[in-house]
Subunit: 568 residues, 2 copies
């Protein structure tokens, strides 16, 4: 096993050399580069030292269900202790409610480290943060005071209870009901696929549950949101239990629970029947988080593949021996192997850059005074949330599969950890709204919103950055821009919703390629100003983006055109 | 769970309506359509009734290693009994050595069924057939008489022992040694990743082992091939044992063995130091077989996805309700879901058609008298073997992943079987020469062979078929032809072996797209002559090939051009 190392140099490159985060955040936060980097270094220590070593053992031990509820693997307990100690869950949350009030870009990077340390681990703070945000945005002051501080510190965790056997993507079909009981409610119904609904890691767990009030209209406009803890304020165990854990392809250390709510006590969050919009505060946060899971997984996988490819000796490079002193060349000398490693790297580092940039926009969208700047940031966050989720996880899966391929048979067996990464990352394309659902969101809702205002803003932003790029990149990105522009116009002008729905996934991928191309252009230009080996390597990876990933756009626009303007 | 059904209608379509197999094989075999279809029907009965139901239980029980050797899951024993009873392993093997002498196209289709019934099962006859062929082609008459008949009937199985810890792709590094002992040899060394080296399913197991004689030159020209059984002709247990089983991502019912040969008795197959070419008889057969594993897995997966998508009710189709009488539409009505199902179908059925066509060429290459026709068939088989292996398994993996995505969360849990298909099929891209190695074989060896004779024959063959296709397809295939033609010329003209090696995978994929496009063009034309719902559905899938898979070529040629004629 090669140990995970947090990509600190790359993160510093983004913060200082590409995005100039301190300037971009000035007026919103009092932070400088030294502070940002110090926090990242401290997080790396926790993840490298405690979280990452637990990933394999936790998978092998797995979560289990007994008479007293769910038990998490011992390794996960050990990993969580220093995380809670450092209060990393609340890094970027409101200090008035237990958080530490640091910029979101830091949280995004620390979260990526946690994911690179292990996806099963990362879900615990990931869900807690999202639940915290929904409560923070929609609950009464009393509820906020009662529940938020200890969630922010990681003393308690959160969970989201949406899915029912008959209601997955289509939440309008859900049946769990809520009946008033004093100033609270009694929740009754069965929920499935509830991640970390129960565990023995913390003293309490806060569920956000979607249910119907007695007078609720049918469909999605009759759903309300409730806060349903495991332990009630008086210390009593609330009326729900875990009926079963799912047996899954991966994430064995993360319990996926069937939960039976049997008159469980809960409190309304937000207005009656307005539960879905309130839950979307959590869902949007989770979508970004899940995208980061893909990036973290890709980084962990490519680190293993690169280290293996430097060590494993097989054959001679096609251009002549790279290491004539050895019995064979390290396989990284084979262009086909290097291609796989570098492609995974380009996908992962492009995703990291996009997430980091978006994190700045999130802070701007939440902290700027109302006005055109804030509106622009809101537009960009809304537009790119499905892109980060779907592309982050698609690229993450592809990176893990590619990295596994680098190891050959050794990638398929347990020893090197890559088969676990493939099994674990696979679910990120599925949960929190499948990637198909993300594509429908992008094409059906985000593109047409306000007459296409968000997408035009985004394309203009990229266009304005072209002069900052070196020539081959500005040409490449300009080409991607015009392909995307044309496809967007075709989509917005189409009168055939079924055809638009059919190519939604291609449109989302096109946005991902364009977004990555834009940031690779900026990274390439920033690297051209540096003189470390790091900078030269970065330009190599940028070239791989141009030669291997940018050409994907040709297929995508072809498919879009063939479907929206069919020949037959 | 939805039960696996052998795709008999589709196979009949290929045999009778697309390839006219009886005519194509006339002069080589006395078979008519009725006979071919009767055999397929009988095989379907065995696979549907015994093999497929064992797949899930065998995975859960897994293979295990005890003091007496490897034990296979009980379900696999039950699946193998009727298979052996019917002597399906030897369907297309030489009747003089225990086989049944039927055409290879039948064997290809029955093998696909066996794979669709379960990959772990399919490996047993798959390895046996390949070992049989190497012995048949290279061993002495005595060895052939002693070992082949009971392998052909499935009474014994075969295994191939190539890999050593330090020698995977690079067999020149292998160290296992062989020393003469009378007219036999003593084999000593450790081999790893040996599939089904030991099990309790049959009375004997025949290993083909690569080892070095004392006077062997270094590298691949110093390797000899030995037949090393589990039980010696005098009934004694031979001197090898299984040291460990690998813990793998999937194929849990198939034991992947570390084998220690400790002076094990073996017999030379072929000439001394000429073991690698002899082993290639087996390897080429296994490469085709593994490609079929991808197709069988894709078929099994898409059957589950399609059945699930017809049953699962969620949301309303974007063009308006498909089933207003129900609470929601079946998800197959969502264009994005239909896209995934149909894409998997197009990949799988295209692969099946290519494999069926190639099976006819295999018989021609082995049975025609020496001359230009036989030479052409030999060229086509050599050229397309790496394409079938790599594209069959890449498409198979993509199909399984797509099918899993259709099921959402239900695809990630054990219940529906899809997560097992993804875990199991993944190794087909890795073993038997990784798909990267296949691409190097295509681009580095098969394309330049005889000044490009094989590839020009193949392209001319397709060109000659263009008039048989309906217009949109002939245009599509003609376009793919010219893209491929240009890329091949670029590759053959390149003076940069490292760049060629880097884009080898793209070139192989381009060949796959072109080959599938050609056969989809022929299938589309054949379907246009039919009037069953089957034919209309086939044309729908053909359109999906044109709209979604053919456009991949644009990206591929772009990558090839950017790498071989780099801008920077």
């Amino acid at each position: 096993m090669f140990p995970y190392r947090a990509p600190l140099r790359d993160m510093r490159f983004l913060l200082d050399e590409v995005l100039d985060a301190p300037s971009a955040l000035s007026g919103l936060f009092e932070v400088d580069s030294a502070l940002l980097n110090a926090v990242l270094g401290e997080a790396a220590r926790v993840v490298e030292g405690s979280v990452a070593p637990a990933n394999g053992p936790a998978d092998r031990e797995g979560a289990s269900l007994g008479p007293k509820g769910v038990t998490l693997p011992r390794a996960l307990h050990e990993a969580y202790a220093p995380w809670r100690e450092g209060e990393w869950t609340g890094l970027a949350l409101d200090p008035d409610h237990g958080g530490q009030g640091l910029p979101r870009i830091l949280d995004m990077m620390v979260t990526e480290m946690a994911c690179g340390g292990g996806l099963a681990f990362s879900i615990l703070p990931g869900l807690t943060r999202g639940a915290w945000k929904a409560i923070h945005a929609h609950a009464s002051e009393d509820l906020k005071r009662a529940w938020l501080p200890r969630m922010a510190t990681g003393e308690w965790t959160g969970a989201m209870a949406l899915t029912e056997p008959q209601a997955g993507t289509d939440l309008g079909l859900l049946r769990t009901r809520a009946e008033a009981d004093g100033d609270a409610y009694r929740i009754t119904g069965a929920k499935m696929f509830i991640t970390a609904a129960d565990h023995d890691l913390t003293d309490n767990i806060v569920h956000l549950v979607l249910a119907r009030l007695p007078d609720a209209p049918a469909g999605t406009r009759g759903i309300s949101l409730f806060l349903v803890p495991k332990i009630l304020p008086d210390g009593a165990r609330n009326g729900w239990s875990v009926g079963a854990l799912e047996e899954k392809m991966g994430l064995h250390a993360s319990p996926t629970c069937l939960v039976n709510y049997d008159g469980a006590l809960g409190w309304l969050v937000g207005a009656p029947h307005r539960g879905l919009p309130a839950m979307f505060t959590m869902m949007n946060d989770e979508r970004l988080f899940v995208g980061i899971q893909g990036i973290g997984a890709g980084e962990a996988a490519v680190q293993i593949a690169a280290a293996y490819a430097e060590e494993r000796l097989q054959g001679r490079a096609s251009g002549g021996p790279a290491r004539p002193d050895l019995a064979a060349d390290p396989i990284i000398a084979h262009p086909d192997v290097s291609r796989m490693v570098q492609t995974s790297r380009a996908q992962t580092e492009g995703g990291r850059a996009l997430a980091a940039w978006l994190a700045i926009q999130i802070d701007r969208s939440e902290m700027l005074p109302p006005g055109p700047d804030r509106e622009e940031a809101e537009d960009l966050v809304a537009l790119l949330t499905p892109v980060i989720k779907a592309a982050g996880t698609d690229f993450g899966f592809e990176s893990c599969v590619n990295a596994q391929q680098v190891l050959g048979g050794h990638g398929y067996i347990r020893d090197w950890g890559l088969e676990q990464w493939v099994r674990d990352v696979r679910v990120t394309q599925i949960y929190e709204g499948t990637n198909g659902v993300q594509a429908q969101d992008l094409v059906g809702r985000k593109l047409p919103l306000n007459g296409g205002r968000a997408v035009r803003r985004f394309l203009n932003l990229i266009r304005a950055d072209l002069p900052r790029m070196d020539t081959p990149f500005s040409e490449c990105v300009n080409h991607l821009l015009s392909l995307t522009d044309r496809s967007v116009e075709t989509v917005l002008g189409s009168k055939d919703p079924a055809a638009v729905s059919e190519i939604a996934t291609d449109v989302l991928r096109l946005f991902a390629i364009l977004s990555h191309g834009w940031l690779w252009g900026l990274m390439d230009a920033a690297a051209a100003r540096g003189d470390e080996p790091f900078h030269a390597a970065k330009r190599d990876t940028a070239r791989v983006f141009r030669r291997r990933l940018a050409p994907e756009a040709e297929t995508l626009v072809n498919r879009i055109a063939l479907t929206l303007e069919p020949i037959t």
